[in-house]
C-alpha cells in the first residue's frame, strides 16, 4: 500500500500502476567480460556539466538562480579542490514536488595512516 506522506516523488505513481520492484536476486554483481570491450563508452552529454552548484553566486541577497535542467537531476557533483584535501564536498540537485532542492554534504577526508580499513 502506498503511503502518500513523505513520498519522495522521484517517480510518478498512480495507485495500482506502480512498477514492481525487481527481485533482489537480479542484482547479481557481474564483472565486465571481454564482449563489453567491443565499443567505447558513450560520449558524455554536455548538458550534464550544467550543475546549479557551479552557478555564480549573486551580489545581492535576493538573487535567484535559474531552474535546473532536468537532465542534471540526481547526478553527483564533486567540488574541485587542491590536493591533498581535508574535506570533500559532494552535492546534487533533486526535485521535490514542484521545487528543486540542492543538497551538499561536506565530509572530512580520512587520513591514511599505517592501518588500512
Amino acid at each position: 500500500m502506498n503511503n502518500q506522506c513523505g513520498e519522495d516523488h522521484d517517480e510518478a505513481t498512480v495507485i495500482g500502476f506502480e512498477v514492481p520492484r525487481s527481485p533482489e536476486s537480479s542484482y547479481n554483481n557481474p564483472y565486465p567480460g571481454s564482449e563489453d570491450d567491443a565499443r567505447d563508452p558513450p560520449v558524455v552529454p554536455p548538458h550534464l556539466h550544467h550543475s546549479l552548484l557551479s552557478y555564480p553566486s549573486s551580489l545581492n541577497a535576493s538573487g535567484s538562480i535559474p531552474l535546473p535542467e532536468n537532465v542534471i537531476l540526481n547526478h553527483l557533483y564533486i567540488e574541485n579542490s587542491e590536493a591533498p584535501r581535508s574535506v570533500v564536498a559532494l552535492g546534487f540537485t533533486h526535485r521535490f514536488r514542484s521545487k528543486h532542492v540542492t543538497v551538499v554534504l561536506y565530509k572530512p577526508v580520512p587520513r591514511r595512516g599505517s592501518t588500512s580499513t
Binding site: 503511503n3 506522506c5 522521484d10 554483481n29 558524455v44 550543475s51 553527483l76 574541485n80 579542490s81
Partner: protein
Amino acid sequence: MGFDRNHLIESLRNRIQNEGTVAYYLLLDNLFRVSSGHLGAEFQETVESGFNRIRLNEPTVPAVGHCLSGYADYQAMGLRGLERKWALGLQSRAHPREIMTEVLKALQELNVCWKKIGHYNMKCRWLANIPGLNEGMVNNSVLNNHYFGDESTIIENDGITKALNVVKFEVQLYKTRGEKYLLDLQRVQGPQFLFLDLCAAFLVQLRVL
C-alpha cells in the same frame, strides 16, 4: 561592504586601484565563473599520477586568494578567479574496462550490489542498515514512512517487520574529451544524505581521496 558608494564609483571611473575597486572587481569576477568551453577544460585538467588513475578534478591554476594589492589587469584576474567549481563525477585516463573493474570492486567492498542495464551502465543497490532502528519497529509503518519516506523496504521475517534503507543509483561510464573517461553517479532512489555519504565512502574506497 562599508565602502563609500560615490567614492567607489569615482575610483572605478578613474581606474584608481584601492581596496574598494579591488573588492569590486573580485566580486564582479566571481559572477563570471568559467564553467564550459576551452577555459573550463583547462581548469578541469586532471593531474596524472602513477598511483591513482581515477582522479577527482583538481585545478591546475592556483586560486587568487586574498591578495588585494598589485594586480594590474582585471582580465587576468578573471582567468585566475575563485576556483569553486563543481565537476560531474570522477575522471580517469585508464582503460574503460580497468575503470569499471576498479569501480565495481570498490562497490562490492561497500556491500553494494549491481546489475548491468546497459553499455558501461550499472544499476546499483545498497542496503543501509541503521543500527538500533530495526528492533521495536513492529507494525509501526507510519513512523517508518516518516523517517524513511516511501523508500523503506519492509522485509517480513518470522513475523518481525524490519525497515531497511535502500539506496539505488546508477553508474555510467562516459567518454570525455582527450582520451579521458568520466564516471557518472546518479541517485535513483533513497535518502539524499545516505546517497551522498555512500558516495563519499566510495571515493575513499577507490582511493581518490
